[in-house]
Subunit: 485 residues, 4 copies
């Protein structure tokens, strides 16, 4: 692998696209700070006491401007940080440059190959002889996966002397993971064991990563405590919903300039992400059809005037397809072959397997015309008509636009900061076992409260008498755990 | 008390306003049946096996057309039913008449006095010498309260020989409750003990009633199992939200004919009910301001473009005030004195104590001009300007309009039917202790599924492969317990 | 005809349903005054100079609370007024009673027969020996029609001695018109000639009436000047649009209590009325389909995310049908036979001939079940399924609810007052020929300005420099005649 | 001036930024063609007869991808075309390159200086010795202005021998215009006379240009016929409204990535552009305040729930300012000094003088920090806080994004094609005098009809009987001239 780590004048490692964009990145970081009141309030509240002093944090999360503000919040609280992106297209190169130059070790650029992606992940985990990380910020769970797979392979190697075999899997990406672990084993057969022994915990950002964690918890294979940040109300009901309501049309516009009004759109899945996407498309004047497996979410869609049908019912009449399911095999080659000319197909849910990219790529005679990066027209030989795939089937809001805006990411990332603080402060208390936890409601409410002032909102105060009447403390939390918002 | 129970030719007891409206009620019940697919499907599925055979059910829930379809679903499954309303204004007299004539013992009319209200409640609970009820359908918890207070008083009486003293409380309504219990004690000092011994359980409809149940559970005073129907997703996220989105403007229009567009409205509280109300007002062209104590709900409001302020900030500029909090003392006399001439003040949340009706009524020199029933203009002597109070501060959608529409009540009431079935089927199994339970998610999803066909919605089916990928059964439930929808 | 005119103690004629409702009417009129700032400002501005002194005004316009405020504005400016409704279902009996008792001669009640309707119209035109009217306020043009047909018949009679023959037409309503004219001819063969000679002009409220006027202008048969109030911006773009957005759901809810969310609705016609209806239904959570003949309006619908199809495409899947076209034969018997059980069919556009009521009524074996007044279920013998027709196919917002709310009618009616003033003030100047006129834009802008204060709106003032830059006067009018708003 | 015209291998002149982007431009043009059904239908309908054979067309209109499809429609109908942009920032360089290479003489690039801008305009008008243009497509009227000013100067020169004096004006831009004319005079003192004698007519795209034309018509100075394309319904009620609803948020997102939800936005002006902007911002979750001078438009805003206030009322609480007025001096330096830190200020109305850019630039001590092209933060020395100005105060949707999307521009540009055809076909008939005309309604309806198929819309057909009933031809036009849509 010809990838070489570079070093700043101060000796910090990095690998980014173009260090000359650091000034531009810094300007946008400064703008973002004004939009991220929760993170800035965390700096004010916790900065003086340097709670992360001595903590080494590895992050794997879209290396955007917003993430830059998160990273610098962590460092301003005393942490040392190494970072990679969790998506090959999501890095904003000017953000990466600014952070690499000023604050943390970054290994990320827009348009990584899968090989490069995992190299970056491995670099972000490599704290050198001193060891580390102590904490992990994860998004989608790839960093957590690497450690868990590494430990598993080391166990087998210890018992049997066998190296993991990249050829044992058809999955192109998992092949690479196994290669990396294999290479690691050769230099240090306890590399991942040392890591997992040191890791105090991980805070996970998204639905997909959280699902993996709950599965590991269920299987008894989780190696360290995990905080499920995704299911903080101020994360999933804000970032997933309002973030996508903003960034889906942003991505569509930047990638295709297509008029949304008058079009027929299908949103596959009506969870928080789907709700945000459907709202955005409807408001922009599209007629929106939802596909769902869950009758409750389907009934919600109908109450908003959205038609609920199956993809098969409508595939040939739709102009814009958006997958938001968190599942796989949603839009298959057979669907795509029936679509209108220049139908737009994109994914804002989860991995690129929501769309059958493999089927498309390997379809005999298919022609790919790249309009511009992340916007490809795939032409079918049978009909000579084409469809437009955004971001190669990966998250289109990050691939074609700049992801979610700062304000809503401030909600999500303030949860991350609080989760990291909680894990670190309780590292020796035994409060957290090798399980998955959500943050307590009063912290969730605190995150929200930190964001109201910026918007000019003024809260009403509960009187003691009123608080007693509904049996809550005057200062909250105000709702039972099961409350759905 | 001059209230006399009447009897049908078949000997069933009742007390309604006007039996001649029974035909009209029947016609509207038949229309409603077409809009209530969940209840009708329950009749089809369970009717043949008569699962409620032998069960005596007392219900205390707004005696509307929709409730009529619920009652006749219960009777068509074999139950014997006695019913009262849970609100002095919410009865639809034609619905009451049709049910009284055809199906169940009803004690309810629109515009009861408080005295009459509790008389009706007591009648609905009185199953005569054979004893009963076996099951309770409750809304707001008044029937449950009466039994619990009755048992408490009987315990004291047994120990001390003392009757409850209506003069021991300032609360006008609780005075009446104590009087009723006192009267009961004189005829049968074990009346309520017998009841609670027989009651298999209660299913509770609303937030307010549920709160009372959780308090009793916490205090260890709950006397029988309870199923919290309110927190079924298909109840609270539908009836509370979409029901109020429909019935708030309906009530405003019927009561005042006021143009909503262009007006400034305050919605106090941004829970499910508040969200529905704010959406309705915004869509009708009002400018909506929200008051909230909970920072998370407040932040949700801002994301929808709603201003979040305190009542004090805006009280003199607002045209329409709506309380939805489930708390007390929201709009006080001092607020009302500062309002614009003909400001409309109404409550769709909970009891009439959301608005300081007592303060208003006892304000020296205040003049009440009844425009029409449930629409009063209260004129302040200081300014000779007035405000318009709907439904005397009680639930305006039930007092001024006809409550929630059939379709959304079908969701709620199908949960009620399932809850009642569950309690009855498990009456001897010990599955339910003296605690509060919610229905399992697969039943919640079933309720939703029963309502999709009517709307022409078509669900997508998960493949086994996809189900495994996200670790759920193919047939559901599809979401973890904590999922917020 | 057994209809007898009654008289107040002061000797003013009237015929209303129930004079005891006058107090109730007065209370609602007082509420409405607060919501009708344009009319109240007109009283303040013009009242002192009594400009209508000596003017006799006949009005034929829905006898509602809002119209009551219009009438009393006319009388407070000095006019003497006689009034009838322009729709057999639209009278609010309490409004009619209050006006009859206090202010003007009223001949109107809710639920007139056609025979009664035309009797009322004729009464409103009959100013007795002193002659009159001087001015006409018309809605739909029936009063104008009666005079024009009367004059035509008198001309024929004078030439040929022939009476009009009611049997010469199949149209049930026109038969009655001819009978009335025939009866008139017998007593006074110059009755309508005297009227048209005296009438200074008519101001017409609606699209339908305006169309008739332009046709008469084109044919050269128009007998007196007419002001087209409908096409004032502050009328057609407010009352038609925002009025219907309010009153369509109001009518649906009062008539059927049906849940709008989740339903499929067809709006036939996407003019101002159709736009208001479609917006209301969409916002309430329905899926709205539009039918249109005009490609421009159709394209507007698509830009709002509404599907544009033909009635035939969707007739069997729709829950709610609304006609808004101003044309005839929109929903025919054949359509109705294909509809879903309990589909709701209503008209908010124009006459009851938008729906094929005749076809329905005469369908062999059809059964009409009146749920309540203005809400009928018509059951087809072929299928035993039924559809629900509102207000017998007439304007459902007036038949099933209370029409448009006061605030928006204040815009429309302030235009009426200004138009009447204009006609009266210029009665001898020759400014107005026997043509159709619209009000000048500065009066239109004035009407709007009079309504802003009530809503707390504050206008920006143009500087002289800015006004020059865009070539308009500082004080307006601000737009060219062809501007579309 | 160092600007040099370049030539293609075929000898056609051009000056663009980067000819290597022609392939990319071509790909996007091909995508746009699918979205521009009206233009493509025009090619199909008129292409075979080559109606523009011999016509030389000069266009001055944003050189975007959509305009490229317009240009190639004109050339495919036989025209020869020279083109410049009408805005220094609006050119899409890949579109310019593709057209320059393949179809027409283009002089345009993104980021022209004013000097360069007018050089391009003059080049587009210069058809060499053969003379020309025959027809003008104008946007904002700069090309028309240059000819009119040229003719005026030549007249003075002929009479007095005096050259125009660039120093006679303070307006920086007009100085340049005078210089160009002066230079022209030196080489050919009849240059602009020859042009105006040859020009058959101009079709004008926007409100601003149209206003200028009506002023010239009123002054009697208009030199050739003009068709006002802006006031075609399918232009102003589509492009201005739905175009801006799309492109305003697009521009905001690309320039600033700011979250719109939760923000307070002011939209200055509530005409078609303002309505589109306000709708977009409201739907994205902002709280929108409107400023207006026109009471009718103000009242429309209130009916949509928007607050109408003056800029002074709210300037210090607003996050996003958008000017849409078509007037000047809307947001002045004094306003900007009172704004919140990082308030965003942008213009989507008209020229950059809606915002007091001169005041800002010349404010002592002001610091301009360019975040990225078209996104500048201006920092006030007094407070060290800054505001963010988009596109230097010019049209932000064209400067920061890509302008309106293809579909809605297809409506506008099909009107342009029809207008150009009309002028050309009637060039000798005398049908058009030196006045301003709008296209007849049946052509407007035709434009709409051409766009319905793409959206799957199906029109209802009027029967002869229905057409007669409303007195319109079966095939349209369906509305009177004054109809407002």
């Amino acid at each position: 692998m010809a990838l070489l780590v570079e070093k700043t004048t101060s000796g910090r490692e990095y690998k980014v696209k173009d260090m000359s964009q650091a000034d531009f990145g810094r300007l946008e970081i400064e703008l973002a700070e004004v939009e991220m009141p929760g993170l800035m309030a965390s700096r004010t509240e916790f900065g003086p006491s340097q709670p992360f002093k001595g903590a080494k944090i590895t992050g794997s999360l879209h290396m955007t401007i917003q993430t830059a503000v998160l990273i610098e919040t962590l460092t301003s609280l005393g942490a040392e940080v190494r970072w990679c992106s969790c998506n090959i297209f999501s890095t904003q190169d000017h953000a990466a440059a600014a952070i690499a130059r000023d604050s943390a070790a970054v290994f990320a650029w827009k348009g990584e190959t899968l090989q490069e992606y995992w190299w970056c992940t491995e670099r972000a985990l490599d704290w050198g002889p001193g060891g580390g990380p102590d904490l992990i910020v994860d998004d989608g769970g790839d960093t957590t996966l690497l450690i868990h797979e590494g430990v598993k392979a080391e166990d087998i190697f210890e018992k049997t002397g066998q190296f993991p075999d990249p050829d044992s899997t058809d999955n192109a990406e998992f092949k690479i993971v196994l290669s990396i672990i294999k290479d690691g084993l050769k230099t240090d057969p306890k590399r991942y064991h040392k890591m997992k022994d040191r890791v105090v915990g991980v805070s996970e950002e998204t639905t997909t990563g959280v699902k993996r964690l709950y599965q590991m918890q269920a299987n008894g294979t989780l190696l360290f405590p995990a905080i499920n940040v995704n299911d903080s109300v101020t994360k999933s009901k804000f970032d997933n919903l309002y973030g996508c309501r903003h960034s889906l049309p942003d991505g569509l516009m930047r990638a295709t300039d297509v008029m949304i009004a008058g079009k027929v759109a299908v949103v596959a899945g009506y969870g928080d992400v789907g709700k945000g996407c459907a709202a955005a498309l409807k408001q922009a004047g599209a007629r929106v059809i939802v596909t769902e497996i869950d009758p409750i979410c389907a009934l919600q869609a109908t109450m908003e005037g959205l038609q609920v049908l199956t993809l098969e019912d409508v595939v040939s009449e739709v102009d814009i397809f958006v997958t938001t399911t968190g599942n796989k095999d949603i839009i298959m080659l057979d669907h795509m072959k029936k679509m209108k000319n220049n139908a737009i197909v994109c994914n804002i849910g989860h991995f690129d397997n929501e769309i059958d990219m493999l089927g498309l790529e390997t379809h005999p005679g298919i022609k790919r015309i790249t309009i511009k990066p992340q916007t490809d027209r795939w032409v079918f030989p049978e009909t000579n008509t084409g469809i437009i795939i955004l971001a190669e089937g990966r998250l289109m809001n990050l691939g074609c636009a700049t992801g979610h805006p700062s304000f809503v990411m401030s909600c999500s990332f303030t949860n991350q900061v609080i989760a990291q603080l909680e894990l670190w402060n309780e590292k020796t208390s035994g409060k957290y076992e090798k399980k998955v936890y959500v943050l307590p409601k009063h912290l969730d409410e605190k995150v929200a409260a930190l964001h109201l002032g910026k918007l000019g909102a003024r809260l009403t105060k509960l009187s003691k008498d009123q608080a007693d009447y509904i049996s809550v403390p005057v200062e909250g939390p105000y709702k039972p755990f099961h409350y759905r918002y």
